[in-house]
């Protein structure tokens, strides 16, 4: 870590809202270069964070934006060689990670860290006044992020909070810290449209308090809605930077154009009439998690041969539970899941080879679904051996062919999972499922953790599969309308109920249920207006 300097206090304005605050940067990076094992992950990046402004670093995963953002926190990858300077106006920098739960201590109540932070700030008070002063500071920070009923909330454990509450709590920590800079790392990635909108509002409110926000994201809608300045990164370099509107309307660098272009709607899937009979049919399904807690009700859902059905809903709507019921991973349900008119056993263990092969599942977290110690190719080939009784050498050959057709070279496939990217692993996971020659492929949010370019690649791949394999049906579990456009039919889930179901075109252009309407609206118009209105609504 030689050569990095992280000085506190020197260049900061005295008051947070002083007149000088507008002009002076609260954080500044100059010529930052980070090298790990001789590879430059960040190469000569400079950046100024202004108070009350949102500066976005945009780029595909691996472009160096997270390393740059972490540099503001004074954190570098282990063994990194660092050059250039990182200056932060006041010592502390707030951090909002992609998964807020990761930075919340599972064994301590929510209030523990907040109280420890506040206690450090009231040390100069007389002993008797410290406790109430610390408490009032904590409650004020919670109120500032609209966490009402703070007293009760502080007594809970992190797992007892909703995802939204966890995120606001992490923001409250940053506010309590008195941070002048907040680094938000992919705060909206993998979230549904309504949640995204809420996060955008919250971050806009933080900026409105005069805090400089650094947004690291590959979610272009969020960036457009929030950011004042954009830096487009590729392979560790800033290839283009400027005010958001300028970059959006007149991108100069080819990479920026490519990055922005993938937002255009993809070619409509060739509409194909559904096959004669339903491959998979759900009848009167009522799934429970614990006795008495019903989480999902699906009276009727059919997947026809060769069609793609999207199950659309926000997190917690029960869509993953539905997918797990289909695949035999969730057993506590009433009703039936029929394959070719015959009820499937509830549990995977009771399904024979053929039935296991017929319904295959691709998980959201591809990395977690692979054994980290064995080459990907072997693991993919294993499906054919286990479920179709193919001889091992033939299975390997078939696996290599399938992987190749999905865009994964033999060289990459021979590696262990740790050496493949998220997009490559998702392709391998698809290949692994396809090797079972499934009738139905259930894809559970398989694109939600990926950057835009990689996501588009996977979606094109799925469209190709539908086109080329007549006998394959897809069930896409997603919160993302863009992904759902791939489908021929869409079922919308909300609060465990199917609120709308029909041909994709109808659902997307003329949504009937209020929930679907709000989903379509919030995704169609970028949340820019709401962000600006929050700013003017007097948050500061």
């Amino acid at each position: 870590m030689s050569g990095s300097s992280r000085s506190g206090g020197a260049s900061g304005p005295s008051g947070p809202n002083g007149p000088a605050a507008v002009a002076v940067a609260v954080a500044e990076i100059e010529g930052l270069t980070v090298e790990v094992d001789g590879r430059r992950i960040v190469d000569g990046v400079s950046l100024r964070v202004l108070p009350g402004k949102v500066t976005a670093l945009v780029g595909a995963s691996g472009s160096g934006k997270t390393t740059t953002g972490r540099a503001l926190l004074g954190e570098f990858p282990p063994g990194a060689r660092v050059e250039g300077s990182v200056r932060v106006a006041e010592a502390w920098v707030g951090y909002v990670p992609q998964h807020p739960a990761a930075v919340l201590n599972p064994a301590r109540r929510v209030g523990a860290l907040l109280h420890d932070m506040a206690r450090g700030q009231v040390r100069e008070l007389p002993r008797s006044e410290r406790r109430p002063a610390a408490r009032s500071r904590v409650l004020a920070a919670l109120e500032a992020v609209q966490l009402t009923d703070g007293g009760a909330l502080l007594q809970r454990f992190p797992h007892q909070l909703s995802g939204g509450q966890q995120q606001r709590l992490v923001l409250a920590q940053a506010l309590l810290l008195g941070a002048r800079v907040v680094v938000a790392d992919e705060p909206t990635t993998g979230q549904d449209a309504l949640t995204k909108r809420r996060v955008v509002d919250e971050l806009a409110a933080v900026a409105a308090r005069g805090i400089g926000v650094v947004l690291l994201s590959h979610d272009l809608e969020t960036v457009r809605a929030l950011a004042d300045e954009v830096l487009v990164m590729r392979e560790g370099r800033v290839v283009e930077s400027g005010p958001t509107e300028r970059v959006w309307l007149t991108p100069t660098h080819p990479w920026t154009r490519q990055l922005l272009a993938v937002r255009a709607p993809l070619t409509e899937p060739v509409p194909r009439g559904p096959g004669p009979a339903a491959v998979l049919r759900v009848q009167g399904l009522r799934a429970r998690h614990r006795p008495g807690v019903e989480v999902l009700r699906v009276p009727e859902l059919a997947v026809h041969s060769g069609e793609c059905v999207a199950v659309l809903g926000r997190s917690g709507s029960g869509k993953t539970t539905l997918a797990r019921c289909l695949a035999g991973l969730h057993r506590t349900y009433e009703g039936e899941v029929l394959l070719d008119g015959v009820a499937l056993p509830r549990s995977l263990r009771d399904r024979g080879r053929d039935r296991l092969a017929a319904v295959q599942y691709v998980f959201q977290d591809a990395r977690a679904s692979f054994d980290e110690h064995r080459p990907v190719l072997d693991q993919v080939a294993r499906t054919a051996v286990r479920l179709r009784g193919v001889a091992a050498p033939d299975a390997r050959a078939e696996a290599a062919r399938t992987l190749d057709s999905l865009g994964l070279s033999g060289e990459s496939a021979a590696r262990v999972p740790a050496r493949l990217s998220g997009g490559e692993l998702q392709r391998a996971a698809l290949a692994r499922a396809l090797l079972a020659r499934p009738r139905v492929l259930v894809c559970d949010e398989i694109t939600s953790g990926l950057d835009t370019v990689t996501r588009r690649g996977i979606l094109d791949l799925l469209a190709g599969l539908l086109r080329d394999r007549d006998d394959l049906s897809l069930v896409l579990i997603t919160h993302d309308l863009d992904t759902a456009r791939l489908a021929t039919r869409i079922a919308v889930l909300d609060g465990g109920e199917v609120v709308e179901q029909g041909p994709a075109r109808d659902v997307l252009t003329a949504p009937a249920h209020p929930f679907t309407v709000s989903l379509v609206e919030s995704s169609a118009g970028p949340a820019a207006e709401s962000a600006k209105s929050a700013e003017s609504a007097g948050w500061a």
Partner: protein, 317 residues
Amino acid sequence: MSGLGSWAARRLLFGGVQTVAVVLLVFALTEALPGDAAVALAGDQPDPVRIAAIREAMDLDRPAYERLADWAVGLAHADFGTSLASGRPVTSYISGAFGPTLLLASLTVALLVPVGVGLGVLAARFEGRWVDRLVSAVTLGVYAVPEFAFGVLLVTVFALRLDWLPPTAVGYGTDLLGHPAALVLPVLVLLSRPVCSLSRLVRAGMIDALASPYVAHARRYGIPGARIRYAHALPNAVAPAAQQLARTVDWLLCGVIVVEALFVIPGLGTVLMNAVAERDVPVVQGLAVVFGVITVVLNLGADLVAHRFAPRAEVAA
């Protein structure tokens, strides 16, 4: 919280069933042993007539299930029965021997927790450095020595050679607190292995916790190092350590036979050993009940602690 309450109640009920099962098993096994209290009492020259007479006098000629039923009825009235060997009530055996055992156990635990946790935290803090290596090497080394060997070694060095401490507690009766010097070596021997296993567990848990994103977050936000280690990281290492601690306390209370025999301490372990040698079934059964209850209660306590510090894990009945 009512869910937790009913869970604890179910666990206690299940624990009661387990204790009954233990008692039945102990009874069956003692019955299956060759010889009985009459044979043991008859002494070196067993005369079949004399054995039969003793057997009749002690009601040992009645069928086993009748004796068991009698004893169980007495147990319902907190009557543990009387010893076959001496005729004294079993409760007096247990209460007399419980004092020394409890004293040894509480002294050991009072030292074990700070030393074990402290060493674990220390080793985790300097993971891979010489402090960690030293702690790990010493704890693994000590752990590898059986306690009787360690006890003999300590007695040889500190009692026989150096003459600093008494070699055994012979002659002090149950009033061990009045002779603290006699407690030093037994407590050291009792501490040796539990300290090692506890500190290894705490070290492993602490290394995970210290590398976690939430500890990085606390550090990032300026929480002092010691506060992070003990207030934020340690709670995450407590759950596995609590289970281990419960097993250790269980072991300490339910007859540390080797150590009591080595230092001639009149604790529960000694009573148990003598009772088995004399085929004194009521005493053995009484001890089985006490040990069963202790085990059930301690494990329930450990599970409650683990539940508090790993609240995401479902409680399993």
